[in-house]
């Protein structure tokens, strides 16, 4: 650790230009390669530029994918990309020839980040990745997602580094149904999601009544917000139910499913977050990390589709983390 404090480069960005090659077919598909480029530009040329280090991911090993996904899905996914199909299951899930390999790299970014954190070679890690992951189910893709980057990273952290209690906090505008599916019967993981109310928003899950089952009862916290809700409602829930749940769970590590599509300029949701809210989320999350996890914090990009709001929100979030840690 000592060596780290002597450098200014406190944020490690895990990124690979391969991510640009995941082809979503043009047209009206919002999950585009340009998302990566605008974040890159903002970070490299903005106020945080001197604080950044870059690392490249390795493709995730199959054994880690299988901690959440089924063999059948991995075969189907690979086969579909190689056979030249343009989507799997639903036109939302556009694929190109290279999508399978790129998805492995996207899932591998979190694992690389965990290695760096555990080896004290990084202090703060943000994975700028696509395709995103939190809607992906064990056996099917959903909502632009193929492999569940956060769920896989959580299992990796538990199994490789024996960090038993993992909390995934998801501030994407949409409910991470796949992460919930991974965790809902598990007492050693906690999933907290603040999202647009499932009655009016994709994917139609994440009601507050869903709170985990069996051994996992109480380890799912869904906070649905009505369309139009914004900073005020988020701050209120962070300071009450979210912090109460964290105090109860006492996580050993925190993973952030960092989606920026609840920004008021982003039309993928009806939520109304300001750019400043992402700074505040950064401050809060860094505070939880100090309190509970001795700095073990990994952030993985999920959604965020407005090409101006997205990079500014990512920067605001990272500056919040940096200010508090």
């Amino acid at each position: 650790m000592a060596a780290l404090y002597m450098t200014n480069q406190l944020i490690t960005i895990i990124y690979d230009s391969q991510f640009l090659k995941h082809d979503t077919g043009g047209g009206e598909h919002p999950e585009v390669a340009e998302r990566m480029q605008v974040i890159e530009n903002q970070l490299r040329n903005g106020a945080l530029a001197s604080s950044l280090l870059y690392e490249q991911p390795q493709p995730a090993d199959r054994r880690w994918l299988l901690t959440f996904h089924t063999e059948a899905w991995l075969f189907r996914f690979e086969e579909a990309t190689l056979s030249g199909r343009t989507y799997i299951g639903h036109p939302d899930n556009q694929i190109g020839f290279e999508t399978y390999d790129i998805a492995l790299l996207s899932a591998g970014a979190g694992l690389k980040g965990i290695d760096l954190l555990e080896q004290d070679s990084a202090k703060l890690v943000f994975c700028t990745v696509r395709p995103p992951g939190h809607h992906a189910e064990p056996n099917v893709p959903l909502g632009f997602c193929f492999l569940n980057n956060c769920a896989i990273a959580a299992r990796y952290w538990q199994q490789k580094y024996k960090r038993r209690k993992i909390c995934v906090f998801d501030f994407d505008a949409h409910h991470g149904n796949g992460i919930q599916a991974a965790f809902e019967e598990d007492a050693e993981t906690l999933y907290i999601s603040i999202h647009e109310h499932p009655s009016f928003s994709y994917p139609g899950t994440g009601f507050s009544e869903e709170e985990g089952t069996g051994d996992g009862k109480g380890t799912i916290l869904n906070i649905p917000l009505l369309p139009g809700a914004g900073d005020e409602q988020v701050i209120a829930s962070l300071e009450s139910e979210v912090e109460e749940k964290l105090a109860w769970f006492q996580p050993d590590a925190i993973i952030i499913a960092a989606g920026f599509d609840a920004h008021r300029l982003d039309d993928m949701s009806g939520l109304n977050y300001s750019t400043d809210l992402y700074h505040l989320l950064g401050l809060k999350i860094a505070g939880w990390t100090k309190k509970y996890t001795e700095g073990r914090l990994l952030s993985i990009l999920e959604g965020g589709y407005h090409l101006k709001a997205l990079p500014e929100s990512v920067e605001a979030y990272l500056s919040g983390l940096l200010a508090e840690l």
Binding site: E28, P30, H90, P203, G204, L226, P227, A229, Q233, D267
Partner: protein
Amino acid sequence: MFIHYYMTPSPVTIQAHMYIAEARDLLGHKHFRHLPVVDNDGRLQGMITDRDLRSADPSTVLNADERQRILDRVQKTKVKAIMSTDYLSLKTVSTLDDALLLFEKKPVGALPVLDSAGKVVGIFSLDDLTRAYRSLFGLGEKGSVLIAIENQTDSPSLSRLVQVLEEHNVLFTRLVCSDGKGKEPAMIYLRINTCNIPAVHRAVEKAGFIVHVPMSASQGQPPA
């Protein structure tokens, strides 16, 4: 939409000449609260519920001896004495809508389902009804979302809307309308299966429809 897809088939039944003690045993060991009373051929004769059984119990204000005496007598009473005979029932061809109307008519928790010969082939509870509508309306189905569109109430609007959705390859599973005659304004509700909701909004609006976005009460501003 049909009852027989959602009912519990072959429910536990009892006969009218059996004792209340036996009915109590049957209901006590299972997770249901309604017991159809049938004849030798399985035809429905009446219904008893856990509530009927409880109201047959002696009052708690009685002294212990007296209570025990009444309890013994109740245990030896036959089912016929307490079963209700003015029951309502469903047929296997009944619909969920039929069941809803019957549940509205009489405050019961479950209805027996009869075949054409009057034999009990199933039981259908209020919980079954909610579950059935939940699945029919696609509630909780992963990957779907409800959108509300103002209903201009002229009949071609529905077909126009469906046409727009088909042209844009938007999959949808439910389409329900309110006609504006009740408390709810005239609306069309669609459960669509896509994450790309803005694209659907744009397509629908381009065709002249108005998408209705419900707003958080404390936040008057529409999202940009």
